[in-house]
Symmetry: C2
Subunit: 559 residues, 2 copies
């Protein structure tokens, strides 16, 4: 058989030759909609490659981007790995200290940035001595005033012939670098390769995974600076799907208009983005005319979002679970043949699991004593993963990230006999009450089903008697009212009585991390001295659970 | 990233762990239906691997099979490559001389065979000295009387623990061997690897390719001894689709009953098999209740089959083109977004092309002087291919099979701007009339559209004036009548007048090759001294084409 390495440039060459007319549409950072074809993308990526080579940025250097989802960022997604260098996508929502850290840690030699990040770039420049080239993703006459030292991307491309021949080299060569936004310690870099990127694109595009075909119009709302935009900027050209890039605005109105204007059929985002779209559509009495499926990940999706988009808008949820360390998609909730007889309601409810593993991904659960647990849908343990595109060592790390050849995810989960995964919590977010675990995610899911609750978070707070007890923090939906007693009563019959939170605090908003996830670390700090009301403990005590809750035989997440 | 080679055993491990309950159903060679699950398949494949290792058949030896589509053959599809050896699937329809040649050429050390092949095996044994083990795929008490020297496969598996741990090794290790049934010269072997097999499975399962999901019930009617059964025995476990193996009988009645009993949704076969199914259903006034799509390849599919299955039975055609040398699928006819507005009739007609390339496949056309031709849907040239799973050198060949890095297919074709391929002929089947090419396939397609024509073949026969002229050989449909004049008139207005065959011969049947394709070699031999009627030449002459047909400006296949 021919020796043909799995190169990222192959994706682009395939798109150019066999899907050359298909469109890439961008709502630019400047505002107007930009549109061109895969043929144009391929030509401009070659021009960018020619510029990189001229600047001696080929062959293994880390080249950074600080950019939104745009066609220019997409060109760099191909040009930088295409010349053998590493495309280091920086998450601008990280603390500035962290951004300085990762640029210096990666020893980035160049940084391409959108004009909106000019103030940040001006701040970074004196602190990032390895960066020799600062390139603004703008026309020559639009260099931001804060960054007079920057060159123009368009000027760099101009007059390049665009005939660059993509080289073939070892498919295990590093291609992209993403740092995970650790909530403690320094961010850690995950280095992907050409091979893992192509295998991830192939396995995620399969019918039982994202099922992305050339008939789709895909909007990867998830930022391209976050975990490779869930791989969609690579997967779409592979299959020739129209790609719609949302730029910097992912509020409900911006997305709604873009979806309708471009006929978007498939989009992927974190739950808060979907909630924003729902709120906008509900407020205006709007309908969706083309969107058929939505991928949701990044954090557990409240069931209310899944139900509303399905029942009120006819859009099917595709919940998934992944991590940057998995390239990033690990599991997706698609049905099996045996589920054909499920009712609509049962199908909806089924979507509260996190899905079954992609081909190439293997999962296992490890118990408290290091033993492998059964995949029976009941046993709760720490989730470990291995696969075709899973990290083994963090970038410039000196020790393996693995335990016994498996990557420990830090998630607590169950897995059933078909491989369907249910994350019950992050291990550090589980609440340990009377020696037994309570799943904060399950309580949050129930809370957000209440019609007056927009968002919810549950954290453990100190209890003299039980070690920890759950505290519910809830954001009321606009125009709705609910009080503590009513909300606590809402849990009755839905979970074991000892799982019911001891108290509720209504808040105006909840803190988010740089990647848009609920920041439980912040909440735990904020409520570290919180005093639970006495009746809560008495109430629990009244259940006769003096020596812990284990008598109920219930395991968290396993009912 | 973790180093995880692309091993065939990974397909089976994934199926066992995540689709363990899904079924593999076989209509056995003995008759009864056998059913078990992927979990059972995995266990028995491990037992078979244990037997192979005990017999010292691991580690690179060629191990042959002479077998139908059954669960036992499927077990060997995994067990033999799984221990690092090469599964050499022998096509029993080859001439016996050819079978002897390929066994000796491959130096097969063992041969597993179905009982139906016992007479052939008895004949092979004295002529194939490298084969040390003859294993009949039967119970211990059912060794065929013609092969008393054979061991029983079931006895070999019995009492094996089935705990074999599939080893990991270089993914470029050879895994399967198929010989192409050359019509001239010796058969040539194509050697596949673990890597190419997995990449072929991934790319063919994509939504725009075969779109095989866990919801499908797949019957790969195409024999497992022919081009890896088009990869389906590997692709189905990868996605967890129910697999239905048809055994040795692929007549219309047998297939109809199996499809209905097992709820088959997707099946793949050569056109003659589909015609047999149509004939059986039409004769009995039967309907199909589960079949939704049919893959057709191996030779050009008459439009009448595509239309009848779609319009009368609601089954969508998925025509494709491939070669053993391509692992084997190269192109498939699926639609693009731009085709959404086509009418039903236009969609049907569109299916007469051969499809666009899978991801990983690249096509080009080469003209008569070695120049690369445009992909404009008009230029006709020799089709060349390269890709992730394409041959470079035939097994034990001493020269590359490639020209300038590309595999020359021997097919004559056009390719349009989206990559849609239209094979106009095998280069050796093209008819050269007055210095211009006539496509025999296009004439056959038109002939089979006539309601009274069941099958048709067009070959070139010698013409003193034009070099060659087309002769149409036609099989009348049962109970229908048509004569020569009526059939020739059928072509008028459908092709250029100089393409209309000079004569028609009605025959009872057409000769087929070992792989079920029309044998034009046989026909050309049979009609090598055929005398065309004089008026045909006069007729042509009357068109004023004395110096060739080029004045019309028409290129074959390009209207």
């Amino acid at each position: 058989m021919m020796k043909q390495p799995l190169m990222i440039s192959r994706l682009l060459m395939h798109a150019e030759k066999y899907h050359g007319d298909e469109e890439v549409v961008t709502r630019t950072v400047e505002g107007p909609v930009h549109r061109y074809t895969y043929r144009d993308l391929a030509r401009r990526a070659r021009q960018a490659a020619e510029a990189l080579v001229t600047m001696k940025l080929g062959g293994g250097a880390c080249v950074a981007t600080l950019a939104w989802n745009t066609y220019r960022h997409l060109e760099l997604y191909y040009a930088i790995p295409g010349v053998g260098s590493v495309c280091h996508t920086i998450n601008p929502r990280l603390f500035h200290e962290q951004i300085v850290f990762i640029i210096n840690h990666a020893e980035d030699v160049a940084l391409f940035f959108d004009a909106t990040f000019a103030p940040l770039v001006a701040e970074l420049r004196p602190r990032c001595p390895t960066v020799k080239h600062w390139i603004a993703l703008v026309e020559a006459d639009r260099i931001p005033e804060q960054t007079p030292f920057a060159r123009s991307y368009e000027a760099l491309l101009e007059s390049r012939p665009g005939v660059f021949a993509w080289p073939s080299f070892d498919e295990n060569t590093a291609s992209q670098l993403c740092y995970t936004s650790g909530t403690t310690g320094h961010p850690k870099g995950v280095l992907f390769s050409h091979r893992t990127t192509l295998l991830h694109s192939l396995t995620t595009a399969l019918p039982d995974a994202l099922s992305i075909s050339t008939s789709e119009v895909v909007c990867p709302i998830v930022p391209m600076f976050h975990a490779n935009g869930w791989g969609l900027p690579y997967t779409c050209p592979m299959v020739g799907a129209k790609l719609v890039l949302a730029g910097m605005n992912t509020d409900g109105e911006s997305l709604y208009r873009l979806f309708e204007a471009e006929g978007v059929t498939f989009a992927g985002a974190v739950p808060t983005v979907w909630q924003g779209l729902i709120d906008y559509m509900q407020a205006g009495g709007l309908r969706l005319s083309s969107l058929r499926r939505f991928l949701v990940g990044g954090s557990a999706c409240p069931f209310s979002i899944i139900r509303t988009l399905s029942q009120d808008y006819g859009v099917e949820a595709l919940p998934g679970w992944g991590m940057t360390e998995l390239s990033p998609v690990g599991t997706l909730t698609t049905f099996k043949r045996k589920h054909a007889t499920l009712s609509e309601e049962e199908r909806l409810a089924f979507r509260t699991n996190h899905g079954r593993p992609l081909f190439g991904i293997d999962l296992r659960l490890i118990g408290q004593h290091g033993e492998e647990l059964a995949c029976d849908g009941k046993s709760v343990g720490e989730l470990q993963v291995r696969g075709l595109a899973v990290v083994d060592t963090y970038f410039r790390g000196d020790t393996s990230a693995l335990v016994d050849g498996w990557f420990p995810t830090g998630d607590i989960a169950t897995i059933d006999g078909d491989g369907y995964l249910k994350i019950t919590d992050r291990s550090k977010d589980m609440i340990k009450s009377g020696g037994e675990w309570i799943s904060s995610i399950e309580l949050e899911n129930i809370a957000t089903l209440h019609p007056a609750v927009a968002m919810a978070a549950v954290i453990g707070v100190a209890s003299a008697k039980w070690g920890e007890r759950p505290l519910l923090l809830a954001v009321r939906r606009a125009g709705k009212s609910v009080d503590k007693e009513e909300l606590l009563a809402w849990f009755e019959g839905k979970v074991a009585r000892w799982w019911v939170p001891d108290d509720v605090q209504f808040v105006d908003s909840l803190p988010l991390t740089a990647t848009g996830k609920l920041s439980k670390v912040t909440l735990r700090q904020r409520y570290q001295d919180y005093q639970l009301p006495a009746q809560g403990e008495t109430h629990r005590n009244g259940l006769g659970l003096a020596s812990g809750h284990a008598r109920t035989g219930r395991t968290p997440g396993g009912n």
